[in-house]
């Protein structure tokens, strides 16, 4: 075969060879007596179609397919450049549609389909769950967490498995020679790093020998902390960091991106035997306190049958857990059983049948992205179809010139594939940008591994190939079917335009899917609105909270009133007060409590509480909590008896239904031993909620006395956005309390943001994807109507020549657009009703069939569709009869 670079010369030679042949033939004829002109003509006639001869000869050189591909490609590039608007439209549509889907695929892939980063031989690792009966719940429950007391459950269970535990990570102030930092700390058992086979970046992992109360405290830091705080130097080994007053020596750095088996970033890992006392304190040994949970994973020796492992672990658990109990739902027969779960999040959730919030959201977003992708594909197919129709005459000419139909199909395919792959290249870029945005929206963790890698690009390329082939095949088939004579005779005008059901379906489908996305946007936006309307009992929009003493259960060294005096002088502060565990979204307190006339509080405590709070003077104003009845504490009551309390309206209602709560006694156990005295209720305040979908809480308030025993919070109410006061307030507090960690000040909206997150995220995603879909669908409809308008220009010219008004001509096109739009609306609404069930659990106090929302988005879609028709309609209305008729 002949390579492309030699081909040009070879073709010139073939030309010369044939010219030579003709010249010699003509000369011979001249010699025989013909005139030179005649001889030339006769020689050419005798030779035949020189172009065809050359074509057939070239095929003998081999590599024809390459040659044809080159020609097709060149032609595709040329025709793409000839219609830059069309090309840009197709490429942009594909880039957005494919890019959005690919970005989503990247996030889903990373989030659900892959083992956590840094875990060696992940297929041998399994999460350990316990299936057991639990008091107050029917049937068997799957438990993922273990208590501190249960960490020894699996010791010596089976020689083929090794088990590790880790705690839920919590924020704690980490002190080092640089300063203080709020770090995410996770307690792990000694075998953790070995069980997960984590290849350390620097130094060594924590070992079983580190996990003993008598060992020197050791810690492993994360790659991110090592890089950002310790300059990525190996000298980090041996560095001493302080956690809850204890000195830990750094022995290793975890590999990049490692965050254990969850996606939540961790800064520091410490051995549980050493840290548990500091972190959990006296709660540690109280079996009633289930505040801190540990999780378990096991490495299974390959080849050991799973039932055997499960059996051994189950036996171990049964040795420790109490025998099956009889719940109030009836006796539960089964004893606790160990269940193995995958460490790949998506697989685990499917295996265990409990679908988490992130998975549900991801699937929702994945479906949304897929819809946009479908819309984009429909649009591209539509555009290519239109062009195929517009090119009927050209196709006819090519067929008449002897192009084989296969060749024709191939050249159309090459064109659509070229467009698809250019679109895919842009889409890959869109995917890497969009993936970053989606990652921030959905997981908010910094993954060190790039999101959009080879797998995503492979995915884009695959989709591009499918899109290119599918969108090319239909127009190609249309072209190959073309009747040469008919298409040459009539051109575009009498083409099969009217009969195209495919095109109508594509247009209507786009409108319908767009409506689905817009409806999603409307429903989620309404959920956010509804959630913001929830009465939290306090002025949640303007609250800041600072914990003095940094969460250490140690005395705060200054008098809160001194701090408050300075805080109140800060600009933007409306009111400030001291309190302890007053607003249960920041922290909450519980005391043993009896109430006058109430036999057992445990019957009334479903939903949590009653919660204990101590509040300083001016608290009601500072928190925005309303005093409903009775009175606030008198100044003297903050320093000396009588003992008084306020209760929330919810507590008053539930403990003393129908009776007056004011004047009743509460018996609060503040210190061990003594029987508590009567604390009389003097007032009733509003009830605080912990979250938008939480019920109002039972809560009682007593005067805060500065006794220097426990840590104190400062509640600040701002006049504007509290987020803006976080930095100034931190700076002001640090002047008095130099040891205060950086993250000591929180704003209520930032904490509540997690409650709104699902709806905000839904709103944002649907807004982005819905907007994208609307844009694509408008472009699609515009091109269909504009093309139809152009095709019918002669008809419009005739109508206008016969006296039709411009408006009545324009109405023809607008009517066509409106018909597509209405059909799309009907189909789209049917889809919304069908899919509503799936999305309903994600909404807040909003029906998935909310008529206001659905009506609104339907109107929006119709307006957009009509807007897309305006320009073509306007053009048609101004059709010049003379020009239109002359064009034929």
């Amino acid at each position: 075969m002949i390579w492309p670079w030699r081909r040009r010369r070879r073709e010139a030679e073939l030309d010369e060879e044939i010219q030579g042949h003709l010249a010699m033939a003509a000369r011979d004829r001249e010699a025989a007596g013909e005139s030179p002109t005649e001889a030339g003509y006769a020689a050419r006639r005798e030779f035949g179609n020189a172009t065809l001869v050359k074509e057939v000869t070239r095929q003998m050189w081999g590599g024809v397919w390459l040659d044809h591909l080159r020609q097709d490609l060149r032609q595709a590039v040329r025709s793409a450049l000839r219609a830059p608007g069309f090309t840009a439209m197709v490429v942009a549509t594909l880039a957005l549609g494919l890019g959005a889907t690919a970005a989503m695929f990247g996030v889903l892939d990373r989030l659900l389909l892959r083992a956590p980063i840094g875990v060696g031989d992940p297929e041998q690792v399994a999460r350990l769950f316990v299936q057991e009966a639990r008091e107050g719940r029917p049937g068997l429950q799957l438990r993922s967490s273990y208590l501190y007391q249960e960490l020894r459950f699996f010791d010596g269970a089976d020689s083929t498995v090794s088990v590790a535990f880790w705690g839920s990570s919590g924020t704690a102030p980490l002190k080092d020679d640089v300063g203080t930092l709020d770090a995410q700390v996770t307690m792990v058992t000694g075998g953790y790093f070995q069980v997960l086979r984590v290849p350390m970046a620097v130094g060594r992992p924590l070992l079983p020998t580190d996990d003993s109360a008598s060992s020197p405290p050791a810690a492993v830091v994360s790659y991110a902390l090592w890089r950002n705080r310790y300059g990525a130097t190996p000298a980090v080994l041996g560095k001493v960091v302080y956690l809850k007053g204890r000195a830990y020596t750094v022995v290793g750095v975890a590999p990049r991106g490692f965050s254990g088996l969850s996606n939540t970033a961790v800064d520091l890992w410490v051995p549980v035997s050493i840290a548990a006392d500091d972190v959990l304190g006296p709660m540690l040994h109280n079996p009633m306190v289930r505040l801190y949970a540990f999780y378990a994973a096991a490495r299974l020796r390959p080849g050991t049958p799973r039932p055997r492992i499960v059996g051994a672990l189950t036996l171990a658990v049964r040795r420790h857990l109490p025998p099956p109990l009889t719940t109030k739902y009836g006796p539960v027969e089964a004893e606790p059983t160990v269940v193995l779960g995958s460490i790949i999040p998506g697989r685990e959730q499917v295996e265990l049948g409990h679908v988490g919030e992130s998975l549900r959201l991801s699937l929702l977003v994945g479906a949304v992205a897929l819809i946009v992708c479908l819309i984009a594909i429909a649009n591209v197919a539509n555009l290519l179809l239109l062009r195929a129709v517009a090119r009927k005459r050209e196709t006819g000419i090519r067929l008449a010139l002897g192009v084989s139909r296969w060749r024709l199909v191939r050249s159309v395919l090459v064109e659509s594939l070229l467009l698809a792959f250019v679109g895919a290249a842009v889409a890959a870029w869109v995917a890497s940008v969009g993936g970053e945005i989606l990652r921030k929206l959905i997981v908010r963790e910094d993954w060190s591994a790039p999101l959009v890698g080879a797998r995503v690009f492979g995915f884009v390329a695959l989709i591009a190939f499918v899109v290119g082939t599918v969108t090319g095949l239909v127009p190609a088939a249309l072209g190959a079917r073309a009747d040469v004579v008919a298409s040459l005779r009539s051109g575009v005008r009498l083409s099969t335009w009217r009969r195209s059901i495919v095109r109508s379906l594509l247009t209507v489908g786009q409108a319908a899917l767009t409506l689905v996305l817009l409806a999603g946007f409307g429903l989620f936006a309404r959920s956010v609105y509804r959630a913001q309307q929830v009465d939290f009992g306090v002025d949640m929009q303007h609250l800041l909270l600072a914990s003095l003493g940094g969460g250490d259960a140690k005395a705060s060294p200054v008098n809160p009133e001194d701090v408050l005096a300075r805080v109140r002088r800060l600009p933007g502060v409306r009111a400030a007060a001291a309190a302890r565990t007053a607003i249960p979204i920041f922290s909450y307190g519980v005391r043993y409590l009896r109430a006058e006339g109430v036999a057992s509080l445990s019957n009334s405590t479903a939903g949590g509480g009653p919660f204990f709070s101590a509040i300083g003077p001016g608290y009601l104003e500072a928190a925005g909590l309303h005093l409903l009845r009775g009175r606030f504490f008198a100044a003297g009551e903050f320093v000396a008896p009588p003992m008084v309390a306020l209760v929330s309206s919810e507590m008053a209602r539930r403990l003393w239904p129908g009776a007056e709560a004011i004047g009743k006694c509460l018996f609060i156990q503040l210190s061990v031993g003594q029987p508590p005295p009567c604390t009389s209720i003097v007032g009733i305040v509003g009830s605080v909620r912990q979250g938008v979908s939480e019920p109002p809480l039972m809560q009682y308030y007593v005067p805060l006395r500065h006794e220097g025993e426990a840590y104190v919070e400062i509640v600040v109410r701002t006049s504007g956005d509290p987020e803006r006061l976080v930095a100034p307030l931190t700076a002001e507090l640090k002047r008095l309390l130099p040891d205060l960690p950086d993250g000591a000040v929180h704003s209520a909206p930032s904490i509540m943001a997690s409650h709104f997150r699902a709806w905000r995220l839904g709103t944002t995603l649907f807004a982005i994807f819905g907007g994208l879909a609307l844009l694509i669908a408008m472009v699609g409809l515009y091109s269909v109507v504009a093309f139809d308008g152009a095709r019918r220009t002669p008809e419009f010219g005739i109508r206008i020549a016969l006296g039709a008004r411009g408006w009545s001509v324009a109405r023809l096109l607008i009517g066509q657009g409106a018909r597509y739009g209405l059909a799309g609306l009907v189909v789209g609404l049917a889809l919304v009703f069908a899919l509503g069930r799936l999305v309903a659990p994600q909404l807040f106090q909003t029906s998935a069939h909310d008529p206001l929302i659905l009506g609104g988005v339907a109107a929006l879609l119709l307006v957009a569709i009509l807007a897309a028709c305006i320009v073509p309609a306007w053009t048609a209305a101004r059709a010049d009869p003379r020009e239109a008729l002359q064009a034929e």
């Binding site: 060879e17 044939i18 010699m24 000369r27 005798e46 065809l52 000869t57």
Partner: protein, 120 residues
Amino acid sequence: MASKDRPLSRIELLQGTLDLIILQTLRWGPRHGYGITQLIRAGSKDALQVDTGSLYPALHRLERQKFVAAEWQTSENKQRVRVYRLTDRGRKQLAAERSRWDQISEAIAGLMKPQPEPES
């Protein structure tokens, strides 16, 4: 591509037959394409007229198969012409094709000239 209005008097050449004729023609020495058509027409007393639409593809095919080799020469009219000559490989191919041709034509001739019926 074959055209439908080809003169009836012309003998259709089977694929492969043309190759054989070309190789046979080149046995007398190197020739250019036009020269080959002239020689075939003269050699067959005008009965065989080679379609140029088949000749050049055949020449280039034979060249690719290395049965002929081509080079540019200058003709007596000071014209650059592409001259084809038989290669050794082509010579062997010709010998093989010829014996096969002889067998076929003998067989066909036998068919065309029926043997007398065996007497019963």
